[in-house]
Symmetry: C2
Subunit: 81 residues, 2 copies
């Protein structure tokens, strides 16, 4: 059965405390060259068919259910298998 | 500056209660055709250069810092911009 991946990230202008914590940990652990880390969510939806209508439904679901439009953006919807 | 995306998902054999909750919500809201939902994390790392060495470092970081090898798998590492 096909899988549709939905990627959701915090809006760019928002502070990402988790991301800052990871970035701090990377430099403390000696990993240089990382100027920023942002953390979001990745949803894998197993669907019966990956037709146009399903993709349209997934877009609606992504914006209304899987993400909070006030603080997050849906940055990707992709049929993977 | 280039961005490297790291995708981390819970191991397939593990129960994903969050995913089950979302799947339940989708069917309650009338969205049929979704037989499974799994939720993972998506990291966007802003790096100075996206050369081979940086990618090797990101692979190590992904496995040792960004994911818990006991319950999660790193399912993707990709240079995005």
């Amino acid at each position: 059965m096909p899988t549709i991946v939905v990627d959701v990230m915090p809006k760019a202008e928002l502070l990402d405390p988790q991301g800052k914590a990871v970035a701090g940990a990377l430099s403390r652990l000696g990993h240089e060259g990382f100027s920023g880390v942002r953390i979001g969510k990745r949803f894998e939806l197993t669907v019966d068919t990956a037709d146009e209508q399903t993709l349209a439904t997934v877009k609606t679901i992504a914006e209304e259910i899987l993400s909070n439009a006030v603080i997050e953006d849906v940055v990707g919807i992709e049929v993977v298998e």
